[in-house]
Every structure is written in C-alpha cells, then in structure tokens.
C-alpha cells in the first residue's frame, strides 16, 4: 500500500465530483459517482486488511507550504481507526448512492446531486485518513460545504435554503474552535503533524501553560468545541433537526452515519491530547446532557425524520459519554460504527415510507404501513430494535459497553444515561406504533418501494442485527479496549431499560386513537425547548447590533475621506492660481516670449520680400561706401 494508492481513496470521489459537475444526464452522473466510490471502497478494504495485520504507517504526500523555517507537509496515516472509518464511510456511502439513484431518479438536477454527494465522500475520506491537522481541517471544511449544498439542495424551498444556511453557520462556529485549537497547537509545538515519527503533535508533551490553562487542555477544549459543532452536541445541535429539509439519502448519509461521526472521530483521533488535557469528564457530561435533552425532544415530535434526527443527537451524546468515560476512544467508536448502520437503515426506511406515502412526512397521517410495505417494515423494525438496544442486537453490544464504561467511571452519569436509554426505547416504540399499526390515515394508499430501494434496506438490516455479535470483540480489541468483565447490574439495567421502555410505549400507544393529541408530546418538547428562539434572542440581537455598529463606523470613515479630499483640492487651487499663474506664467514664460515676439516683428519688417527695396539698400550702401572712400582720400 503506497502513499499514492492511499491518496487515491479520497481523490477518486473528488474526481467524480469534478466530472459530474458539468453533466446534465442524471443516470450517467450516478454511474460515475457510484463507480468512483466503489473503487475507493475496494481500496479502503485493502487498506483495512493491511491496517488489520500491519502496524500504523505514515505516508507523507507533498509540501503544502514552506515559508522560512516552517514547513507544512501533508501526510496520510493508516491505522486501524482510520481504515475502519474509511471502509465504513465508503460502504455506507455506496449503499446510500445506490438508494438515491432511485430516490432522485425524476429530479431534474439529479446530476448535480451526485456531484455534491461525491464531493462530500471525498471530504469525509480526506478527513478520516489525514495525519496533518491542516489537511484534516481542510477536509472538515469541504464536508461542511457539502452538507450545506446537500441540505439546501431544493433551494427553491425557502425552508431548505434557511436550513442549509443555519447548518453552515452553526458548524462554522464549531470550526472556528477547531481552527483556534489548530493555531494554538501550531504555535506551541511548531508542527501540525499528528504522528511524525516521534515529533508529532500527539507524541510531544505540550506542557507549557497558555493563558493560565495547560496547552493540552486548551487545545483539546477548542478541538472539542469543533467536534461539538460538527456532531451536534447541546449548544450547537439546533442545525441537525432542521437539516431534515434535504432529501432523505442526504439525511441518511450525513446525519446518520458519517458527517456527525466526524466530531466523535476527531476526539477519538486526538484522544491523547484530551487525556493529557484532562477534559475527558467535560466531554462525558456534555454527551450525557445532550443525550437526555435530545431524547426528551424526540418524544414530542410528529415528523418521522425529525424524531430520527433527535435520536441521532442523543446517540451522539452517548458516544461522547463513551469517549469521555473510557480510558480509550474505542468504546465510543464501537458505538459509532454500530449506530451508523442501524441509523442509516432507519433513515432509508423512513425515506422509503415517505416515498411510498407520496412524500408524506407527518406520522399522524401515516399508519397501516406494515400491511402496505412489508419489506420496508421488516427492515425498519430490525433497525428499531438495534436502536433500542434489544438484547443481542448490534446496538445492545455497543451501548452496553458504554454503560459499562460509565458505570465504572461516574455513577450519577450512569443513571443519566440509563434514563435517556429508557426514553429512547419509549419514543421508538411510539414512532413504530404511529407508523405501522392501525389503518392508514393518509390521503393516498401507500405502495411498496422499488427493488433498488428495498435491497439496500435489507443489507443494512442484516448488518444492524449481526454487526455487534460477530465483530464486537475483535473490533474493540483492535481499537485498544481492554476487555473487562461486564458487571451484572449494568447488564440488568440495560435489559430492563430496553424492554421496559418498549412495554411502556406499547401500553401507552397501542389501541389509542392516534388522531387524538399525544399525551407525551408536551408543548415544550414540541417546541424543541425553545432553543431557536433563545438563540435568536441572544445571538440574533447581538449580531444586528454589531452590524448597526459597523454601518455607523463605515459612515464615519466616508465622512473623513470626504473631508480629506476637500482639503487637498483647496490647497491645489491655491497654488495653481496664485503661485503658478502669476509668478511663473506671467512673469517668466509668457512675458519673455512676448518680448521676443515684438523683437522679431520689428526685424521682420526689414525682410519684406520687396525686391526693389533690397536693391535700393544695396545702392545706398555703395553710395555711403563711396562717400567714405572719398572722405578717406581727401
């Protein structure tokens, strides 16, 4: 595996993005995009096999910048973590690409859709494989751009455009943190390389103090802010539910499997910094709080995709808890992997359902899908079970590992996580009852989706169920997790929570007239705990105040410029009229010229061209000559 082949993995989708940029024919664009991603998937698997057997390798690519002493070289890093992530991204991406060829078939701008998807895949892969913080940051930005383009794909819908902008700005805040962290790290250590044969960022001890806080603590804190922005942790999570405006495959790809995982991956990748900085408890608690709040809000939602969005936020919170609580990043990453598959499944299922119900999103207008769309329903249920962490599904193994880690580290946090897991089970069953049970409440009868959409669902379903059991142990060991015994109370609580939540949900919702108001959907929950209004009130007003200030400043500067110009003109006038005019023109130049002119005119009168006149002067001359000679002689 050489550097160039490794570099090919992100470059292929980038190339595909460039090719499809100009295309008009959707089908051909899709083929190009899928082909490219399939190639990079194979390469990723080859890289995984190498990483699985060999040890970590660093592949330097090229010098990005060499100014004075500092040299910034780009390099890629191949180790278990990056290989796993690369293969997961390419595999899930491939399935979603195939799904979206059907979903987006009759959209006029289908080609551009695939271009954006390829761009997103390239960015993601670049991020995952990079060994240089700057390269990571650049890919991070490409992913952000791709998400903005994809969310606002149907830009003719004002809500989609607004959602795109909202997502972009909020993640931009996070990125700011990442950039500052990057800069601080660079100033402190002089290099941006994560692993540079000993001289890397992670290998050096950034012990010096900056602003009274350890460098590592500061950098890790800033990096966590970036991660929180991208993964939608509490203060910066508001953009994720609105991102549902984009087409369903987008939500699936970005908001389920990959993009949101980027934040978690970043924390995992730079885990030693966090450890050194001691910010792990902060990470954990942020994750826990996010999980609780998201779960609560999910209960109050009636849009099928929005419920799933909030469940993603809460699961990410759990991942952060996994990272913060455990001694290695493995636990969180493991939950990330499993979550990627069943959450992608759920999203695709939701897409297929809404596709079947003619783009109906509101669960209150659904119902009776089980009978109309059997394959989708089956696949969907497998995903639901995994989400709920039904015993022996992939979700159960990964969430259990997280709970074990938390149990050991921080007891109250354990109880918080358990309660949020309970809520998770509750809103899942609520959703299933609304969607599948009873009679169809929508206007049109739903119909089963075509094969190109149901086949990926089935594949994902298989993975959602089997992933945990088969690979669980090997995956954790690979990622560096020490296999501790599972204490009994943890196992008990997880079983109880899962089954109890389901039972509770079934009790509340089965048999009810689903058209009546939902008892659990309390008003604050429906209004998403007014986060948006809160932000608007604070940041919005602050921002408009700032712009007003800027306008004021600008007018002051213009006035100043006006004044200066006026002054310059006045002085110029003065000089030109008085000094130049009178002194030089009159006296020295024109005056002199006039003197010469008059002199010349006087002389000219003599040369009149009057020939007889000339002759007379000649004769006069001789006359005077004669007289003179005569005078001489006498």
């Amino acid at each position: 595996m050489s550097a160039s082949t490794l570099a090919l993995i992100p470059c292929l989708p980038l190339l595909a993005a460039l090719c499809t940029a100009g295309m008009r024919n959707g089908r051909r664009a899709a083929a190009v995009a899928i082909g490219a991603l399939a190639m990079s998937a194979l390469l990723a698997l080859w890289a995984l096999s190498q990483a699985w057997t060999g040890d970590a390798q660093v592949f330097p690519l090229a010098d990005w910048l060499s100014v004075g002493g500092t040299r910034i070289t780009f390099s890629l890093r191949l180790d278990a973590l990056s290989a796993l992530m690369a293969s997961m991204v390419t595999f899930v991406g491939l399935l979603i690409f195939i799904f979206s060829t059907g979903y987006m078939a009759h959209d006029p701008r289908c080609a551009r859709f695939f271009c954006y998807l390829s761009l997103f895949a390239a960015g993601m892969l670049g991020l995952v494989l990079s060994n240089n913080l700057l390269l990571l940051f650049m890919s991070w930005e490409i992913v952000g751009l791709a998400s903005y383009l994809l969310i606002g794909f149907w830009f003719h819908k004002p809500s989609a455009a607004a959602a795109g902008k909202k997502a972009f700005i909020v993640t931009r805040l996070g990125d700011l943190g990442l950039l500052l962290g990057l800069l601080v790290a660079f100033t402190q250590t002089g290099t941006l390389e994560l692993y540079a044969g000993g001289a890397g960022l992670l290998e050096k001890d950034p012990g010096t103090l900056v602003w009274g806080v350890g460098a590592a603590k500061l950098v890790s804190l800033l990096l966590f802010v970036g991660a929180a922005g991208k993964s939608g942790q509490v203060p910066l999570h508001v953009w994720l539910p609105d991102a549902m405006e984009g087409p369903t495959p987008v939500s699936a790809l970005i908001h389920a499997a990959t993009m949101v995982a980027a934040g978690v991956f970043l924390v995992a990748r730079t885990f030693p910094l966090f450890e050194a900085g001691g910010t792990l408890p902060l990470v954990a608690w942020t994750g826990g709080v996010t999980a609780l709040i998201a779960a609560l809000i999910a209960l109050g939602q009636f849009d099928i995709k929005r419920i799933l969005a909030y469940s993603t936020v809460s699961q990410l919170g759990l991942m952060m808890v996994g990272l913060g609580a455990a001694t290695t990043g493995a636990i969180g990453m493991y939950h990330l992997f499993t979550h990627a598959y069943f959450k992608a499944l759920l999203f695709l299922g939701a897409g297929s359902i809404s596709h079947g119900c003619h783009h109906e999103q509101d669960i209150r207008k659904m119902g009776g899908i089980a009978r109309a769309m059997p394959v989708t329903t089956a696949a969907y249920l497998c995903g639901a079970l995994a989400l709920v962490a039904f015993p022996y599904t992939s979700g159960y193994f990964s969430k259990d590992a997280v709970l074990v880690a938390v149990y050991g580290a921080d007891r109250p946090l354990f109880y918080l996580c358990a309660f949020s897991s309970l809520l998770t089970a509750l809103y899942v069953t609520r959703q299933c009852v609304y969607v599948f049970a009873g009679a169809h409440r929508g206007a049109h009868a739903p119909h089963e989706s075509p094969a190109v959409m149901t086949v990926p669902l089935v594949i994902l379903a298989v993975f959602a169920l089997g992933m945990g059991g088969l690979f669980g142990g090997a995956l954790q060991a690979k990622l560096g997790a020490i296999h501790a015994a599972h204490p009994f109370p943890v196992i008990a609580t997880s079983w109880a929570v899962a089954l109890g939540g389901m039972l509770l949900g079934w009790v509340i919702y089965s048999g009810r007239d689903l058209r009546a108001p939902d008892p659990l959907a309390l008003v604050p929950l429906q209004r998403k705990l007014w986060f948006d209004e809160l932000y608007a009130a604070t940041a919005g007003r602050l921002w408009s105040g700032l712009t007003a200030l800027a306008v004021l400043l600008q007018e002051m500067v213009a006035a100043l410029a006006e004044l200066v110009q006026e002054l310059a003109q006045a002085t110029g006038q003065f000089f030109s009229r008085s000094v130049d005019g009178r002194l030089i023109d009159q006296l020295a130049v024109d005056g002199l010229a006039r003197r010469f002119h008059e002199g010349g005119r006087a002389a000219v009168r003599f040369q009149s061209g009057f020939l007889p006149g000339y002759l007379r002067w000649v004769v006069l001359g001789t006359l005077l000559g004669g007289l003179f000679v005569h005078w001489l002689l006498t």
């Binding site: 009149s608 061209g609 009057f610 020939l611 007889p612 002759l615 007379r616 004769v619």
Partner: protein
C-alpha cells in the same frame, strides 16, 4: 574730347541704368538697365585706357572684352531665370515675387 566728357557720359548712363533698376516693376526692364550699367562701365574702361598713361598695355580693351563676355553670360542666365520664374509665378512683377514659399 577729354576724359571728363566720357566720364560724365558714363555717369549719366549709370544714373539712367540705376533709374531703371530701382524704379521699374518689370524684371526684364531691370535686366535691360543692368545691361546699361555694364556698358557704362565698359565705356569707362575704354575711356581710361584711351586717356590713360600707357595705352600699349591694352588693359582697357582686354578688360572690356572680358566684361562683355561676362555680361553676355549674365544676360543668358538672368533671362533663363526670369523665364523659370515666370513659368512658376505666372508674373514678372517684382513686387509680387515676395515669397520663397511654394505659391
């Protein structure tokens, strides 16, 4: 007839020649007058030679002959010029020939 008679005569002829040169407007008349001047001079040469100290030196006639030859050449070239001027300026009036510029 004494030398003074001839000198007076040639002076008169000189005056008449000058009159022609200085007052007439027509170039050709000016050329005539110049011829008169030439002849007046010749007359003086011969007169001085005739009444001069040593006539055998033949200075007078020799000078007169040369003067006549030169005068003939002068007339030839002068009139050629006049013709060229006339062809160019379409006039022989001295007062109009007041410019060297191409008319």
């Amino acid at each position: 007839m004494t030398l003074n008679h001839y000198l007076v005569l040639s002076a008169i002829l000189l005056g008449i020649g000058l009159l022609g040169v200085l007052t007439r407007r027509n170039i050709i008349v000016v050329l005539f007058s110049i011829e008169i001047l030439f002849n007046a001079a010749n007359l003086n040469f011969i007169a001085f030679w005739r009444f001069g100290p040593n006539p055998e030196a033949l200075m007078g006639p020799m000078f007169a002959l040369f003067a006549i030859a030169v005068a003939a050449a002068e007339v030839a070239v002068g009139l050629a010029l006049v013709i060229a001027v006339y062809r160019h300026f379409k006039t022989v009036d001295l007062e109009k020939l007041d410019t060297l510029r191409e008319p």
